[in-house]
């Protein structure tokens, strides 16, 4: 099935094309919606189980493989279907924006990455696309790059999701190792045996961490509402309908082998329930339409994660239905919030009033989506809610009551977002408010209407979309048909109770919200504040560490390098038993001993004498001493070169010193001197030990002998040192001359530059 690989890769290839076309011809922008629409139809017609494999990195067992099954089809349809609406909407929403081409190109990039992630049949490939969605999300949240709020939100979203991604990568690698393959279909074919693997707990925890970060589970939920700094089409598309569900997707994808593990169930249900509760409270507290919707998205994501963690065919079906329902109404409500924001000039739920006469079509779309969200009878939302309650009724502990309370909260949010701005007396606005163009209304209206249509006729998607997806989560057919009425009287009571409780709270929300918003401790001690503190501590820590290790003191750098190199070498030498003394060879003559004493005295004097010229004399003593020592060792050439160089160096030194201030004494304090002396003695001791260890290794005279034998016959020279220099190692000598020349040139340039008055 080549079409399968073509879907993400061709979309990826379209990215530069989109940027170019929209930049040159802005009128093409709305027509870009044709791309996702065509992909939607393609995904709809592809057969179940279609697969495509291509070797990618065979040495690592990584394949470019894609596969379409019920779960990936559901996601691909949501991505392309909602994508079509969002592209159309965005072209109007940002029409005339100077960077529209960049926005739409990034949105295309995101769509390609998202499709790749849900179609990938290889875990590493999935990870690559997964990270690409994080990157696209970063670019889109920070689209209004001139606002610092958008920049920090983009950074926060990236940090959280990519940190989670790293954990997930570790989990993926472990999983590949445990299963012996990165292929998702092969891993799923192995069944539940993986859960008994000793690595299984690590795999579960690491992968769940990545999914929780991506899908904004408590306590990593805080980045999602901040991501509302993005333009509204992005909030609707990435941060409610698709990208944040990628974590849910992977959890659902890997559910079959792990679903019986207590750790898997506990993690998912625990994190999901905590997320639901936290999201519900924070949603009630919020008055900004977009942020309110974002918190309710957090609730929905928590609900989905909980449902996946419950091992029950009904829970799998409920998860799929709820996923679909949520994508439909939430994308629609976000787009409506964007319209209201753009037309009425505010997103504050407290101020928005009475827009129904001014924007009747928007009101209709909002009502459709809001009723589905609240779970009103007849809408598919009510089906989802019934399934949800049927699953929860049989659960132990507080879970049923959590479900009830959270659903009531969702009724309140639906009311505040979808009805409150449109009810009551018309509000004062700066400009006349009216319905937007059909390009912007199409998506919310269609999505809202779909909620009603599917609620009336669930059989449309029952066996084609819902059941295959649920079966993929469960790892076996569910045997559940949506046509049958789920649950008994208790479920009905819970549904009605949630509606009634929600309606009651909605009526009192205007008084409740300020009370909740007044709970400042939620901000002060929440994870968002913790993230801020963590980032500031990181920056402060980096500054402190840099100050410490890179304080700008050359002396410290040198001392640290010496300690590390010589300390490390000395320790290694001692630990490996490398300390050794060479076998006694030739004895030193009295003359050589005397010379050694002179050199030692010169070195000590160079350290002790304070006057500059005295130091130069001491250094000269050392140099000439070494030269004469060379002479006694049979190195006549060396000795003469040493004498020449030593004289030149001292002349130069005196010439330079004459231009420097004589009072430039060593500014070290006595304590510093003592420390430096101790360090220097240590370095000298380790150096001696290393040299002695080298000398204790038996000598191999092959090169020496060859040179002695080859000098006359091959190089026609009797002075072997000379022959080595100009013949055997002539290249070295060439390098030496080059160094000399470069040093001379550099010195000349410096002299000329520094000679000029500044």
């Amino acid at each position: 099935m080549v079409a399968l690989i073509a879907i993400p890769l061709l979309t990826l290839a379209c990215v530069p094309l989109v940027a170019w076309a929209v930049r040159r011809r802005p009128w093409t922008a709305p027509w870009l919606a044709v791309l996702p629409a065509a992909l939607f139809l393609l995904v709809l017609t592809l057969p179940d189980g279609a697969a495509f494999r291509l070797a990618w990195i065979p040495s690592l067992g990584v394949e470019l493989s894609f596969r379409l099954d019920g779960l990936s089809r559901l996601f691909a349809l949501l991505i392309t279907g909602i994508g079509a609406g969002v592209f159309l909407y965005a072209a109007s929403y940002l029409s005339g924006h100077a960077l529209l081409h960049r926005f739409l190109a990034t949105l295309t990039l995101f769509m390609a990455a998202m499709l790749g992630a849900v179609l990938a049949d290889d875990l590493v490939l999935l990870f690559v696309f997964w990270e690409l969605t994080s990157l696209a999300s970063f670019l889109l949240i920070g689209f209004d790059a001139h606002r610092s709020e958008a920049r920090s939100a983009a950074q926060q979203g990236l940090m959280v999701t990519v940190a989670g991604g790293l954990a997930m990568l570790a989990g993926v690698l472990l999983l590949g190792r445990a299963a012996g393959s990165f292929s998702i279909s092969e891993i799923l074919a192995q069944g539940g045996g993986l859960a008994d693997h000793p690595l299984a707990p690590w795999i579960v925890v690491l992968i769940a961490a990545g999914c929780f970060a991506k899908s904004a589970q408590w306590p990593l939920h805080f980045w999602l509402p901040n991501a509302m700094a993005a333009p509204t089409p992005v909030s609707a598309y990435l941060h409610s309908a698709t990208m944040v569900k990628l974590g849910v997707y992977l959890l659902a994808r890997l559910n079959p082998p792990f679903q019986d593990m207590a750790l898997w169930q506990g993690l998912l249900v625990g994190a999901g329930a905590a997320t639901m509760l936290a999201g519900a409270v924070l949603a009630l507290r919020e008055r900004d339409l977009k942020r309110k919707l974002a918190w309710s998205t957090v609730v929905a994501l928590g609900t989905l994660v909980t449902l996946i963690g419950i091992e029950d065919p009904l829970a799998a079906t409920a998860a799929v239905v709820f996923l679909l329902v949520h994508a439909l109404y939430k994308a629609s409500l976000f787009l409506i919030a964007g319209i209201v924001d753009k037309k009425a000039g505010t997103r504050d739920a407290m101020q928005l009033r009475g827009l129904r006469r001014l924007m009747p079509l928007t009101t209709a779309a909002a009502l459709l989506a809001g009723l589905s969200m609240a779970g009103a009878p007849g809408f598919i939302g009510s089906l989802a809610k019934d399934l949800l309650f049927t699953v929860h009724v049989g659960l132990p502990g507080l879970l049923p009551s959590v479900a009830l309370v959270v659903n009531a909260a969702m009724v309140v949010v639906a009311g505040v977002v979808a009805t409150r701005p449109f009810l009551g007396a018309p509000m004062e606005t700066e400009k006349a408010v009216q319905d937007p163009s059909m390009a912007m209304l199409a998506a919310p209206l269609v999505l809202g209407a779909l909620g009603l249509l599917l609620g009336m006729a669930p059989q449309l998607v029952d066996h084609t979309i819902i059941e295959p997806a649920a079966a993929a989560i469960l790892g076996r057919p569910t045997g559940i048909s949506l046509g049958e009425k789920q649950g008994g009287a208790l479920v009905l009571a819970m549904s009605l109770g949630a509606l009634a409780l929600g309606a009651l709270v909605f009526l009192g929300w205007q008084r409740l919200q300020p009370v909740l918003a007044g709970q400042r401790w939620l901000d002060a001690y929440g994870p968002d504040a913790g993230y801020g503190r963590g980032m500031r501590a990181l920056a402060a820590g980096a500054v402190a560490l840099t100050r410490r290790v890179q304080g700008g003191s050359l002396r410290r750098y040198l001392a640290a390098s010496l300690v590390l190199v010589f300390g490390g070498a000395g320790l290694l030498l001692a630990a490996r038993g490398g300390l050794a003394l060479p076998a006694p060879g030739l004895w030193a003559t009295p003359a050589q001993l005397a010379l050694a004493a002179v050199i030692a005295a010169g070195a000590l004097a160079a350290c002790r004498i304070r006057a500059l010229f005295g130091q130069v004399m001491a250094a000269g003593l050392v140099g000439f001493g070494v030269g004469i020592l060379f002479l006694t060792l049979g190195a006549a050439d060396l000795a003469f070169t040493q004498f020449t160089v030593e004289i030149l160096a001292i002349v130069l030194l005196v010439a330079v010193l004459a231009r420097l201030p004589f009072h430039a004494l060593d500014a070290r304090r006595p304590g510093e001197r003592r420390r430096d002396a101790a360090l220097a003695l240590g370095v000298g001791a380790v150096g001696t030990a290393i040299l002695l260890a080298v000398l204790s290794v038996p000598f191999e005279p092959a090169i020496q002998d060859w040179m002695g034998q080859a000098a006359v016959p091959e190089a026609k020279g009797r002075n072997v040192v000379n022959v080595v220099i100009v013949d055997f190692r002539a290249l070295d000598t060439l390098g030496e001359i080059a160094v000399l020349l470069i040093a001379a040139l550099s010195a000349a340039v410096l002299l000329r530059r520094a000679g000029k008055p500044a």
């Binding site: 920090s152 500031r536 920056a539 500054v543 840099t546 304080g551 700008g552 050359l554 002396r555 003394l581 060879g585 030739l586 030193a588 050589q592 050694a596 050199i599 030692a600 000590l604 350290c607 001491a618 250094a619 140099g623 006694t632 049979g634 190195a635 060396l638 070169t641 040493q642 420097l660 430039a664 060593d666 500014a667 070290r668 430096d676 002396a677 220097a680 003695l681 370095v683 000298g684 001791a685 040299l691 002695l692 080298v694 000398l695 005279p701 040179m707 002695g708 000098a711 016959p713 009797r718 002075n719 072997v720 080595v724 055997f728 070295d732 030496e736 000399l740 550099s746 002299l751 520094a754």
Partner: protein
Amino acid sequence: METLLALLFGLLLAAACYLLLARSLPRVIIGLLLLGNAANLAIIAAGRVAGTAPPLVERGAQALAAGASNPLPQALVLTAIVISFALTAFVMVLAWATWRSEATLDPEALRRAEPAALPSTDKQEAAEAEARP
């Protein structure tokens, strides 16, 4: 003999390090000079002192006689002496240029590339965080 050379090497190395750490550029230069000598002694020692006759092939002979010193380390040190002279000469000029432009010879005061006080970023971060609603 080799042991004596090794001890001498260690002593010169220690003196060189002590001078390199000094807070006075002329002393650092002298440290460099001593360091060069120390390295040369180490190379000669590593070639062993088996004989002390100069490595010259006798007239009429075809190969070096036994008892001649090792020619290879001598050739290496010859190169090293010249290079360390070039380095020292360049560093001397550098020190003079530094004095001309910075008016100090204390390495601790040479902070143009890395100022002693780095600008702090955390206050700015905190201000940004407060500005967020």
